[in-house]
């Protein structure tokens, strides 16, 4: 029963969602779909609580056992409960100036900082990937050189204003690259549909903790 009931619920809801997405003109379908979407939001809100409890348990233990870096755990819990307290008891709505200040002056710059580190990771990953160790790596290096030079003014400058590198880069991007990407996308879409079918039919049960039938 522990697995049969979730499988039955999954099948019924999967059929319902397929019908609700493909068919129109039934107020009943639209209403029930809207209601189910709201339920998802409610479940997600409760899941935040579950996640917060997990965070408190892990970092609480780290603080009590004074493990390495426990000070950061204290800081994390202060930030977690500080934001929670401020949002619930002081701001009460997302347009509160204090709330927008915290988002615009703290969260957004921190996100931007982490995002910007990607440029350094691209450098180190490219160094490893472009090392000429095999014919495939040589092709990759050659293509990358054309792409990089074709995307910056230096490429045209080196060729005395000729746009050949830029045109080659466009061709690489729009013809062989697009063809490869679309091939992967078609396969991935079919794979996604097949996975959904296997789950809806209860054949694949990995997400329930089993590996199959």
């Amino acid at each position: 029963m522990k697995k049969e009931v979730p499988i039955a619920i999954t099948f019924i809801l999967a059929v319902f969602y397929v019908v609700a997405n493909y068919f129109t003109g039934s107020p009943f379908l639209a209403t029930v779909k809207d209601r189910l979407d709201r339920w998802y939001l409610v479940v997600a809100a409760w899941a935040v609580l579950v996640g917060s409890i997990n965070l408190c348990q892990i970092h609480g233990r780290r603080i009590s056992q004074k493990r390495e870096g426990w000070v950061f755990s204290v800081w994390l819990l202060i930030c977690l409960f500080g934001m929670m307290f401020f949002g619930i008891f002081i701001a009460k709505n997302p347009s509160h100036p204090g709330w927008t200040f915290m988002y615009n002056q703290l969260i957004a710059p921190m996100n931007a900082t982490v995002y910007s580190t990607i440029v350094f990771y691209i450098g180190s990953a490219a160094y490893r990937a472009f090392r000429v160790r095999s014919p495939e790596a040589s092709v990759l290096l050659f293509t990358a050189l054309i792409m990089m030079l074709g995307r910056v003014p230096l490429g045209a400058m080196l060729l005395g204003g000729n746009q050949a590198l830029s045109q080659m880069a466009d061709w690489i991007l729009n013809v062989p690259n697009a063809a490869g990407m679309r091939g992967i996308q078609i396969g991935a879409c079919l794979g996604g549909v097949a996975t959904a079918l296997r789950i809806a039919l209860g054949i694949e049960r990995g997400h329930l903790g089993g590996t199959g039938e």
Partner: protein, 257 residues
């Protein structure tokens, strides 16, 4: 009640695909021989990666990406997590499963717990090792970076829906000296994974993982149906290209009906 405009062709194609999958599954149940599936290096290396962690006494890190449960990639990742958790439980290797999505987190915990229970080692299950880091993409990336540097896992398994954080995870894993297996169907992240990881599951290989790892004929049968679908897709592309080249938009019109 009628089919939404522009969805007719997709609906019928999906219905035919569904019937094909069901027929293949029935034939597999009836004992039909399943064609051999080509070897996927990334999946073959899964046991090797876990074995490496066991030998070194270090944990395995698993991330199901940052997609939610409505994303098929996340569900495929959950199936792989189930397999990885079972192997880790079997060999007494710690598994650190980090999550970004709050809906995915309880599911991850349940899957890992169930895996330990299935191999009869529920006492070894450590709830602290299944972690929800943050709902924010880059806060999650930072959290995983910290874990990679502090706990130094010897294997880094990144399968699911990834976006800009993919390269951060893969590079940090590489710096930490972990053997890395990645997989995503997000085409813009595949080049990052290919460049930075030891093995990469590309697109549909991610969805085939659970069938491949379980080696169950019924699951493998659905992969055969998937391949037939791909062949039909390729045929439509070729026919469509020829028809458009000769000035006919009949197939294009049919597809958008």
């Amino acid at each position: 009640m009628s089919i939404v405009s522009g969805y007719s062709f997709a609906f019928w194609v999906e219905l035919i695909f569904l019937v094909t999958v069901i027929v293949m599954i029935r034939r597999a149940r009836g004992g039909m021989k399943i064609p051999e599936i080509y070897k996927v290096a990334g999946l073959e290396a899964m046991d090797e990666a876990i074995g490496r962690c066991t030998e070194m006494g270090k944990p395995v890190h698993f991330s199901p990406g940052i997609g939610d449960l409505q994303n098929a990639q996340t569900l495929a990742a959950m199936s792989i997590l189930s397999y990885v958790a079972k192997q880790c439980a079997r060999y007494d290797t710690d598994l650190i499963a980090t999550n970004r999505n709050v809906i995915v987190y309880p599911l991850s915990e349940e899957i890992v717990k169930q895996a330990y229970a299935e191999v009869g080692k529920l006492d070894n299950f450590k709830p602290d090792n299944v972690r929800w880091i943050s709902n924010d993409q880059f806060a999650y990336a930072t959290g995983v970076t910290g874990i990679m540097f502090r706990e130094k896992p010897a294997a880094n398994i990144l399968v699911g829906a990834f976006w800009a954080e993919s390269l951060i995870f893969a590079e940090v894993g590489s710096i930490a000296g972990a053997i890395q297996i990645s997989g995503t169907a997000n085409t813009h992240q595949i080049p990052f994974f290919v460049a930075a990881c030891d093995y990469c599951l590309i697109g549909e290989e991610l969805y085939a993982a659970s069938a491949y790892l379980s080696k169950e004929p019924v699951l493998l049968a659905s992969l055969v149906a998937q391949d037939w679908g791909k062949m039909v897709g390729v045929l439509l592309i070729v026919v469509g290209t020829v028809m458009v080249s000769f000035g006919s938009n009949a197939l294009k019109t049919l597809l958008t009906k």
